[in-house]
């Protein structure tokens, strides 16, 4: 299994878990709309030379190279950069008056955090009492919620072309290309585009969200799909 099929399988499995029956068909070879420059032929899934490179086993090399998951804070700011969603302000490097008040107040028995307030935290615990997260170990529930909200928030449109709600003149392929450009800084390869268009088509046929257009619903779902790929989370 090469890297791109791995990504496809990962995305398909992930989306089939979270999106209902219409998403489960993502990996299947359904009909593809003839929009943009996507021209798949029989037995020719991709026309991109990057997808035709011979798979090389680089396990040994990879052992010495980077494999990093985005830290929680970086993930939030990157999601914000992609979608335009405002998560509010927080700073782990700055003193927090509210947290200090909480520690000082405590209860009738005094604060349980009083004994480890200084430089070095609670060395005997390594994970200090009261700490809610370390770099790279944000709460999964919170991050999940953030990603979902960032894509479904009606107030943000950076994920769509021209920073506005897609209208009748907007093409699905343009939404996909725009989102790839914002999320990864480059256009999708043919294989990526093929996969994404299949996803968009299945969602256009059966919109997940109600009260908005089918294209907007599909675009928000595709936004969420990109944000949960290995390609986005690992760097």
């Amino acid at each position: 299994m090469n890297a791109r099929t791995h990504l496809a399988a990962f995305s398909a499995a992930l989306l089939s878990c979270s999106g209902g029956s219409s998403m489960a068909t993502l990996g299947s070879n359904g009909p593809v709309p003839a929009t943009g420059d996507v021209q798949p032929g029989p037995g020719n899934f991709s026309t991109d030379p990057r997808d035709k490179a011979a798979p090389v086993d680089r396990t040994l090399s990879f052992y010495y190279g980077p494999m990093k998951l985005m830290p929680a804070e970086v993930m939030l700011y990157s999601v914000a950069s992609f979608t335009g969603h405002a998560f509010g302000t927080f700073d782990f490097t700055a003193p927090d008056p509210a947290a200090r008040a909480f520690a000082d107040a405590g209860n009738t028995q005094g604060s349980m955090y009083r004994h480890c307030p200084f430089f070095g935290g609670c060395m005997e615990h390594r994970i200090p009492l009261g700490r809610t997260s370390f770099m790279g170990t944000g709460w999964v529930i919170e991050l999940e919620r953030a990603v979902v909200e960032a894509c479904n928030d009606r107030a943000v449109f950076q994920m769509f072309p021209n920073n506005r709600t897609p209208d009748a003149a907007t093409l699905a392929v343009d939404v996909v290309r725009h989102q790839y450009l914002r999320a990864f800084g480059e256009q999708p390869s043919d294989a990526d585009l093929q996969l994404s268009m299949a996803y968009m088509q299945s969602h256009l046929a059966a919109p997940e969200l109600t009260g908005i257009s089918a294209l907007e619903s599909a675009g928000r779902g595709h936004c969420r799909a990109l944000l949960t790929t290995n390609r986005f989370l690992f760097y």
Binding site: A3, F62, E73, Y77, T93, R100
Partner: protein, 304 residues
């Protein structure tokens, strides 16, 4: 062979061989193992630099602007980037390093909330480290002498334990620190577990009480008689240790490459990094750039 050319050869042979850089050593060791370095794709590498040096994914404009640039040029581009919205006026390179150091030195607002002044002092020192190239050695001396540190670890044994963890990158060994420490006779059941596994190995956190240490009643901490009992002596001991610079190299390697330093496989690389780090005046910016432009960092990654 003429006398002249023989003389030139003699001179060349007498000159010391040029020391290989960390990057050259990494490539050499990988090739010795039968593999070659495959450079990451352009957009992937730009993304890596952007996230590590500014704390956010790059824009399409960044990717386009760096087309055809070398890793060092990409590094310089993102290191010099001006304030971004999420950094609130701070230079992103400084901001992201402050964020990561907050994790190492545990001065987050969740744990240090009663000592706001100390957090600010500490953060200002770290800011100097990244913005001004302040000596890491001087920074460590300041940190260990700070009132914050002395207040938190009132006995010499406590200070030794914390110093080992924060600046030498490992736990102290039983023969290095007296047993009557801040835990009053409670010791780790399995002290052979490295501190780096503290968060993943549940057994690391299991403490047992050793009656032979303190008897049946709580004992008071004893001073560290072997190496001195004053803060100054401990600090000088720490800074004189060869592990001091090595631990810094290991920490930044883990931060940038994403996994522990492969000491057995890259035997000379750490030594080369330590040498350069000290020669640069303990400048962490030099160390970060050297690791981030090496083959280990710039090669493609597992999931792509």
């Amino acid at each position: 062979m003429t006398a002249r050319s023989a003389g030139i050869l003699f001179v060349l042979a007498a000159l010391p061989a040029r020391a290989e850089t960390a990057d050259e050593l990494i490539r050499k060791y990988l090739q010795q193992r039968g593999t070659d370095v495959q450079m990451a794709k352009h957009s992937e590498l730009v993304r890596r630099y952007a996230i590590d040096l500014t704390g956010v994914i790059p824009s399409a404009a960044d990717v386009a602007a760096l087309e055809g640039k070398s890793p060092r040029e990409m590094f310089a581009y993102f290191k010099a980037k001006g304030a971004l919205p999420h950094t609130r006026g701070e230079q992103p390179y400084v901001w992201v390093n402050l964020l990561l150091d907050a994790d190492h030195f545990l001065f987050s607002n969740s744990t240090q909330f009663t000592q706001v002044r100390y957090i600010r002092e500490f953060r200002d020192q770290l800011r100097r480290l990244y913005a001004d190239g302040y000596s890491y050695r001087d920074f460590a001396r300041w940190a260990l002498e700070s009132q914050n540190f002395l207040s938190r670890f009132p006995s010499a044994a406590d200070r030794a334990n914390a110093s080992f963890f924060l600046f030498l990158g490992r736990d102290s060994l039983p023969n290095e620190v007296p047993s009557g420490n801040m835990w009053n006779g409670w010791v780790l059941r399995n002290a052979s577990i490295p501190a780096g596994q503290a968060e993943t190995n549940a057994d690391y956190h299991v403490y047992v009480y050793q009656p032979s240490v303190c008897g049946t009643t709580l004992c008071t901490a004893r001073l560290w008689s072997k190496t001195g009992s004053t803060p100054a002596e401990i600090i000088e001991l720490m800074l004189a240790s060869p592990m001091f610079a090595e631990a810094a190299v290991d920490r930044y390697w883990q931060r940038l490459v994403g996994r522990p330093f492969p000491s057995n496989d890259f035997p000379d690389v750490r030594r080369e990094l330590v040498r350069g780090f000290i020669q640069s005046g303990w400048n962490v910016n030099w160390l970060i750039e050297e690791i981030a432009t090496s083959a280990a960092y710039t090669q493609e990654m597992m999931f792509r």
